[in-house]
């Protein structure tokens, strides 16, 4: 595997690992864990979205639907059927993948803005469906019996288990993102991004490649969803299908650099930190989304390639390190 010797991959993994290890070194470990959890979740989510948005060139506004659905399915299995967290995480990933596969076959025929609109519709439809789906608790959602945590060595230990799993999973997402980018499959995706008609004429089976990219970008959000709601202890429609989280993920990918491996990692971390600071400031606490909007506008207008993309273009020598 010659591609594993690329320093850029190790840089991206090292940065992700550094986030993951932060709570072990911090003074207030529980506080650091909660902060880092949201950062890792954002990194995993943005890196997943990047496979579709950055490599394939399809904007999904409703990507959070996979997180919500995966979270719900895993939560349901743990809560009602007493399934172990590990299996629930896999089931969450699988159900998100299945939804992406079915959706991909149907709506990836649409291009550009039409696809983006359809993804919003899917998220809203799913939220409405779950709200009225009694096995999942309808509008109230579900709450884990506290006893469940005993299987994982008590609530405190369970939180750490969820955290460590999330950290490892995030490393896997970054690795997968890199492997996709440097593979033949990834070259096909980028050909589709650049010119779908020309790609098809060259022999790229675009419908199939796009569907698999969509599936791959849905699996990990589905798994992270299970971990998050397990840690949270309850799940409800309003928390699982938050449309603006989808849009914030797009901002993260664009900020760091769409189509690069490192970009979404940095973009997610920086944005998530910024959001944390804004949320506790008296001036911005109610309007932090406005900052996201303005940020997106500035990126699209002035640095459409994002920070990493800009650095790559400006300093060609950095290309080996900034993949």
């Amino acid at each position: 595997m010659k591609q594993l010797r690329n320093p850029g991959l190790w840089l991206a993994l090292a940065i992700t690992a550094a986030f993951g290890l932060w709570p072990a070194l911090a003074g207030n470990k529980a506080y650091a864990r909660e902060t880092t959890f949201t950062i890792l979740r954002a990194v995993a989510f943005a890196s997943s979205l990047n496979i579709l948005l950055g490599y394939t060139g399809y904007v999904s506004f409703g990507h959070i639907v996979f997180y919500g659905l995966g979270g719900y399915v895993g939560f349901y299995l743990m809560d009602v059927h007493g399934v172990h967290l590990a299996l629930a995480v896999l089931a969450g990933g699988l159900s998100a993948a299945l939804l992406a596969f079915l959706l991909g076959t149907a709506i990836l025929r649409l291009r550009g803005a039409y696809f983006a609109l359809a993804t919003i519709g899917v998220n809203e439809a799913m939220r409405a469906f779950i709200k009225n789906f009694d096995p999942f608790g309808g509008p109230i959602g579900m709450t884990l019996n506290f006893q469940v945590y005993n299987d994982y060595g008590g609530a405190n230990q369970a939180l750490w288990t969820a955290y460590i799993t999330t950290a490892l999973l995030t490393l896997v997402v970054v690795l997968v993102s890199y492997l996709v980018k440097t593979s033949r499959f990834g070259l096909g995706l980028m050909a589709i991004r650049e010119n779908e008609d020309a790609a098809e004429v060259m022999g790229v089976n675009a419908p199939s490649a796009k569907t698999w990219a969509y599936v791959l970008s849905a699996v990990f959000p589905g798994m992270i969803g299970v971990l998050f709601f397990f840690k949270n202890g309850n799940v409800e429609p309003g928390d699982a299908f938050v449309l603006h989280q989808s849009i914030e993920s797009i901002v993260m990918v664009m900020l760091g650099g769409q189509g690069t491996v490192l970009g979404p990692v940095l973009g997610a971390a920086v944005y998530q930190r910024l959001r944390g600071i804004l949320l506790v400031s008296t001036l911005f606490k109610n309007i932090q989304l406005v900052v996201a909007g303005v940020l997106l506008l500035v990126i699209v207008l002035f640095v459409p390639a994002g920070v990493v993309g800009w650095l790559r273009a400006r300093f060609p020598r950095l290309r080996r390190v900034l993949v």
Binding site: S183, R184, L187, G188, M190, A191, R193, E194, N195, D197, A198, A199, E200, V201, M202, G203, V204, N205, A206, G259
Partner: protein, 252 residues
């Protein structure tokens, strides 16, 4: 499959609303030939290319490639069978490097090579079209002539059996045209069958073994370059085009 042509176009018709773009077009392309496809603007040449490569499905008729009916197949399935093409309006993958563009041709075309093999093939093809020095630059940095050569390199990297060239000479200066004609000849020597659309007449007449002429979507003449050039129907078709009239007058 000996004795049967590599490509057979059987009574192919294509309509866009009220416009009959192609009507009962019928011809054969034997293995190893260079067949020129000419006709005034709007005659349906590129539409025919699109019907062959799977971009459009013809309403009637059949496209038979290597004895197999490929009518209405998706472009990528046609490409996997061994067909590659260039576009009249160049379609480079702009944010990818020249090398990646050509590798993509090899990875997904006829032979569907691995990335490593594709890189080797791309490094063979790039010097052949004179783009070796630009290998690591983004495709968007190329000028039009270079983009045309990139299209050609991408198609060649697929190692196709049949190559469709759509106006690869248009917009090139006389020296570049000579170079490109030489490249086309060398491609044929490698055993690739070629169907070529061209407006640069002297070059096309020079390089083609046989020429077919389309006018208003119908095939009006077929034969050697000499036969076609002297065919009264062809001259009549082109006299509608004032530039061509001038060119014919100039030659006399």
């Amino acid at each position: 499959m000996n004795g049967q042509p590599l490509l057979r176009i059987e009574k192919v018709s294509k309509r866009f609303g009220g416009l009959q773009a192609l009507l009962n077009v019928d011809f054969d392309l034997p293995q190893g030939q260079i067949l020129g496809l000419i006709g005034p603007n709007g005659a349906g040449k590129t539409t025919l290319f699109n019907c062959i490569s799977g971009v459009y499905a013809p309403e009637e008729g059949q496209v038979v490639f290597q004895g197999q009916d490929i009518t209405g197949w998706k472009p990528y399935h046609v490409a996997h069978q061994g067909l590659a093409r260039t576009h009249q309006i160049v379609q480079p993958l702009e944010e990818l490097t020249v090398l990646e563009n050509v590798m993509a041709g090899s990875c997904f075309g006829h032979e569907r090579r691995s990335l490593t093999e594709a890189k080797t093939i791309a490094d063979e093809v790039l010097p052949f079209v004179g783009l070796a020095e630009r290998r690591d630059e983004l495709a968007l940095s190329l000028n039009v002539a270079q983009k045309k050569r990139l299209e050609l390199a991408r198609a060649l990297a697929a190692r196709p059996l049949l190559l469709l060239l759509d106006e690869v000479l248009a917009g090139l200066n006389p020296t570049e045209i000579d170079e490109m004609v030489e490249v086309v000849r060398q491609i044929r020597e490698q055993g690739v069958t070629i169907l070529i659309i061209e407006h640069v007449m002297h070059a096309l007449m020079n390089v083609s073994d046989r020429v077919v002429v389309l006018d208003y979507g119908e095939l009006i003449a077929e034969g050697t370059p000499d036969q076609v050039a002297n065919d009264p129907k062809v001259i009549e078709a082109y006299l509608g085009d004032p530039k061509m009239a001038e060119r014919l007058m100039g030659e006399e």
